[in-house]
Amino acid sequence: MTTCSVSKGCFVFKPSTKKRRLSEKTANFRSPNHDSEDTELRFVTCQSLWSQIKSETEQIQEDLNKQLIDNLMSFLSRSHPDFQEKTTEWTCGMKFREIPTAALVLGVNVTDHDLTFRGLSDVLQDNITPYVALLDAKDCPGIKNLMQKLMGQLMNCDIEVDSLEDEDCVQVSQNRIRCSMPSLISWYESVTKKTDSETPSKKRNSSSRHWQTPPVVVIFKDMESFTTKVLQDFIVISSQHIHEIPLVLIFGIATSPMIIHRLLPHSVSSLLCIELFQSLSCKEHLSTIIDKLILTSRFPFKLGEKVLRVLINIFLYHDFSVQNFIKGFQLCILEHFYSEPLSVLCCHQGDAKKRVYSLSHDQCENIRKLPSFRRYVEKQESGKQIELLTNDSFLKEETEKLLEDLHVYHENYVLILRCLHVFTSSLPKYPLGKQIRELHCACLENQVWETEEYESSLQLARMLNKTDLVTMLQQCVEILMSSSGKEFDKTVEKLKELLTQFQNLEVAEASQERDVSISSQKELQKKTDLYHLQKTLLELKESRRSKKLTKFEMLRFEVVDYIDRLVRKYLVPADNRTLHEIVYFNAATVLRGHLNAAPRTALHTALNNPHWYLKNQALKCDGGGISNKAPDICIVYKLHLECGRLINLVDWLEAFSTVVMAAEEPNGDAASSDEVDDTIHARFIRAVSELELLGFIKPSKQKTDHVARLTWGGC
């Protein structure tokens, strides 16, 4: 069975045997050369961890959207109050012309919108109305398609809700009936009437959630992409019938609410009664995700500094998409568990303990190979060193201890990081970053207290005023109290003590101030001349310079020093911890290669420097040059770079054959043949058509036997 054909482009292959393998994913997890490395267990761990994280992210998304959806719900319930009473009075008719519309500003991260809409429509269908239609711009090039899509969706959901017995009847009618507003209305009437006429006892449970006459909600997912004409037509038509069918529109907007007025002329937009809803910005969403997924000790898996930076940069510079961030996170988990045999220990503490003791000998060797572990071993005394390197069970005990240390380190790290963030996030100019993620990266990167930014932050912290300082300390106390461990009991005590000192200071200061003010008043009451004033001022200045710090200042120094001490103790970069390789994923380049690839760069390298890929000495050459023994396509490419917009094929061919012949017979006389060898000609043809396939050149009709360059360069 080949897949080459001159008449066909698609080939389907079906296995002869009908049996299918479904649950053999783990088989792929096994890399060929390691066998005894708990692949199965690793895979299971990876899957369970990912599903945990996934559900967590979904929960976060839901929570964040809750506010928005609640607002929308109340809007919907307000939208058609009169319709309930079936008032068809003329006076209401005028008002009914306006279609209630919600404009949903969702932000530029279009890829995340889908999830939001799905959540929204689920909630709507559960609570308000079964009649929800989601419309995509790409499905609705014309008003006819729009109506078709709309009715199709509405009638389908009708089937689902009522579980009609004559399903095919509806199916047929959906295709047959003319998709127009009147037919929609008649459908709506029949549906609502049916609900009415049915015995309440039977319908009670299902319709209790919905109202008697539920509104029909039409969601335009991407309003910007709809054609103006379609939107206008739809709005005008439906406004004609708004008193017959309770329609509500929801516009999904990625840019700004102004777009409504740009898309719709006033005559149309006046038919809408628009209310604006703003979703949470994607940056906040990301912060929450980072907060809940990364800055927590709940999940054993951690991202290294560079990896985190890559993910955040892709988010900030490329798409603002939280979904993509999570996808990247998923990839990190996968890569980590796939490539690191010891990742089997990257699980919750209780499991890890058990797993440590069931490690195979190979795995113990793997532990010994870890750079961080080696460093650790070197620090031990010689007796222990030998034990660690030879005795597996001793190693396991030690590993267990180290893993526990690592876990404790994480718990402490997160708490202290948050405390530090409380301080740094309120400093002017944010030397250590405004967001906690920046601080986190800085701390992971290297010892943060050695950086200039940290130094300047401390400087600034020493100038904080008292109220700020007190609130910050209170926040820190709260953060530390929230931890379950006992590690920080002392710290909390100390902080509380500092707080009470501040309080005492207040009292003391107040009295002191009173003294000062009285004395100064006294002085002022005296008659004074210019000379004396100058003198007193000078004295005052002198005294201030020489005066030792006030109590408040002393206390402030003490606080800052204390924080500094905490930082130095707990915010040690993870790279310094023993066994950090087990839980930290650090292969940033792999991640970047998979998520943010540069295909053009790879092509460039391959064409300009084939030695990079083909490790052959003949190809090696330094500088920007290229060996004449390089693959044909490289030579042809290099030659074409020297040309302008058009390239003469004959010249090109001759140049190519000169190079190739020289390479083939370096000492032979080139003049031996004036004719281009057929093989060389063929090779040239192949290389040129390959360049065409790659998009560097295209045939040109401007001049005979010329091709045009498609890349920049030349003139």
Partner: protein, 575 residues
């Protein structure tokens, strides 16, 4: 072969300084070394002007570039990348506007490459540092290199003619025919050269005068200048692009393949020739491919976890994917799509899914409906699994927005696993954020260096003889399925067309004449029969009808004469 680049007017003469260093250096190395000193007085003047010009760069530009660098630095962890892919190159190197080249540069480079067969072939670069070290005022020398190009404009003839001449001598034994033909077209030759040079000269002298007072100032240190040049290069990128593309005139030689006394190869001989030619670096390429093959199981895993995989990098990835298919997909339903196949459509891809994978009989109104059907079936039946391999998802036929949208939606179905390859340099531009998120790609660099045999075989290659064999075979094929009379009718038309082949304004055979002839040959008995027959021909694209100015219908066979002759000969043999 000597020709200055399209320098015209004052503005363009400034462009000259972007002639690459190595270019200039080579001239210095060749024979201009001594002249450098001689012309020094004149040079220093131009240096000043050059410097002055550089001062004009606005700080804004510099700032912008700085920011850009920050961005690159922020994203580019690549500095520490030890991995085996080529991502350690900065973007400016890949995308930058290359320095203007003279039209004979290709020949020069070729001779250069040919002359140094043993050692590496970067004479410019390797020479460069030595040269600079030797010269006492190395910093100045660097400056001068840029400036020389200006001066060389005037002396171009003596300088430039050397290398190409050498090349020409070496390229071929004197062949009067070829030699005479290889002259350049008149549109871009000597007179104009002189004109241009004159212009350049005047510009030079014009600008010299205002620059003179400043001549006393010292040139800035070398590295800052170099940096500035770079910055300026970046800033002028856009301008340069449009400048380069503004003039419609292209300076290339007028030689054509026809005059090369070289028969064009047809597809078959080309194929045979290439088959016999040994593949260079086979061992290294095999090694490279083995590396990629070790990733197969990982791909499988990632496909199962909801990612789709896209392969990029130089070289055909067809064999790699085939190997993946044969080694891992034998037990599962899979679909292979040759994107490079010239008449592939999304429709045919969807059809093969619905008809062959899902065993559905029936048609669909639109691809969207079809997609909906597929989606539904895959949702209902959780045992369905489908692997889709697309070679060249960026091909001409599939790169359209709608096609990509449908493919993206298809790939986002949970149990459809897509693995595709791309080759075109601009392929990633087909996907916007929405499509990318549907595709959920994982990118893999798989540079294979394999020749694109299959992928280019369908192409109407520029150099391959347009054999028309396909047309011929289709002609005979269709005609064999027709009645004897129909064949006769077609023959008649063909013969008539061949008789008139020397008449370039031959409009075709008018219907009435044709009817008359057919009647006489007892081929048809009424014009209705003839019309019916002609309709059939037209449906198979064997003939084309055209209405003349007088309203008469003319019939023409849209095949070139040689094919038609071949066809008639073959028919005669058969009869």
């Amino acid at each position: 072969m000597s020709r200055p680049e399209g320098t015209r007017g004052g503005r363009r003469s400034l462009q000259v300084k972007f002639v690459p260093d190595e270019d200039v250096l080579k001239h210095i190395a060749d024979d201009a070394g001594t002249k450098v000193r001689k012309d020094k007085a004149q040079l220093s003047v131009s240096v000043k002007r050059f410097v002055k010009k550089l001062d004009n760069i606005s700080d804004n530009e510099a700032q912008e570039i700085l920011e850009e660098n920050n961005y690159v630095a922020a994203l580019g962890i690549c500095a520490q990348d030890p991995v085996g892919n080529g991502s350690s190159i900065s973007g400016s190197e890949v995308y930058s506007f290359q320095t203007p080249k003279r039209s004979n540069k290709m020949a020069e480079l070729a001779s250069e490459l040919a002359q140094t067969p043993e050692k590496n072939v970067a004479p410019d670069h390797s020479k460069c540092p030595e040269k600079m070290a030797k010269t006492p005022q190395s910093s100045k020398c660097f400056l001068l290199m840029h400036v020389f190009s200006l001066l060389f404009q005037n002396k171009k003839k003596e300088f430039v003619s050397t290398t190409p001449y050498r090349l020409r001598k070496r390229l071929a034994a004197p062949d009067p025919y070829l030699e005479s033909e290889s002259e350049y077209s008149a549109s871009c030759s000597e007179e104009e050269d002189e004109e241009e040079q004159k212009e350049v000269g005047t510009v030079l002298s014009d600008q010299k005068t205002p620059a003179k007072p400043k001549a006393a100032s010292t040139p800035p240190p070398r590295n800052t200048l170099a940096k500035r040049i770079k910055e300026q290069k970046m800033g002028n990128l856009v301008e340069e692009y449009f400048e380069a593309h503004s003039s419609s005139k292209v300076l290339t030689s007028d030689r054509t393949l026809q005059k090369l006394r070289k028969r064009r190869l047809n597809q078959q001989t080309l194929h045979d020739l290439l088959k016999n030619a040994p593949l260079a670096y086979a061992a290294e390429i095999r090694h490279l491919n083995q590396q990629h093959e070790s990733l197969f199981s990982k791909w499988m895993l990632q496909l199962h976890l909801g990612f789709n995989i896209v392969l990029y990098g130089l070289g055909s990835k067809r064999d790699l994917l085939e190997k993946f298919r044969t080694s891992l997909l034998q037990d599962s339903v899979h679909l292979v799509v040759n994107g490079y196949f010239p008449s592939i459509t999304v429709r045919s891809i969807l059809n093969s899914i619905t008809e062959e994978v899902l065993d559905h009989i029936g048609t669909f109104r639109s691809p969207l409906d079809q997609l909906e059907f597929i989606t539904k079936r895959f949702k209902e039946d959780s045992s369905l699994e489908l692997y889709v391999l697309i070679h060249n998802v960026d091909s001409q036929m599939l790169r359209g927005e709608r096609s990509q949208q449908i493919l993206a939606q298809l790939s986002s179905l949970p149990r459809i696993y897509l693995i595709a390859s791309i080759d075109h340099i601009n392929a990633p531009l087909m996907w916007d954020q929405a499509k990318l998120s549907l595709y959920n790609w994982l990118w893999y660099e798989t540079t294979t260096f394999n020749p694109y045999v299959e992928e280019t075989s369908y192409e109407n290659s520029l150099l391959v003889q347009q054999s028309g064999s396909l047309a011929l075979s289709s002609l005979t094929h269709v005609l064999h399925s027709l009645t004897l009379n129909a064949r006769g009718i077609f023959r008649l038309l063909a013969q008539h067309q061949l008789e008139k082949k020397d008449n370039p304004s031959y409009p075709g055979l008018s219907f009435q004449d044709f009817y008359q002839q057919c009647r006489e040959a007892f081929l048809v008995n009424s014009d209705l029969t003839l019309r019916a027959q002609l309709t059939e021909f037209r449906d198979h694209k064997l003939i084309r009808t055209k209405r003349g100015a007088d309203g008469v219908e003319y019939l023409l066979i849209p095949v070139d004469d040689s094919t038609l002759t071949d066809f008639l000969e073959k028919e005669d043999e058969d009869v």
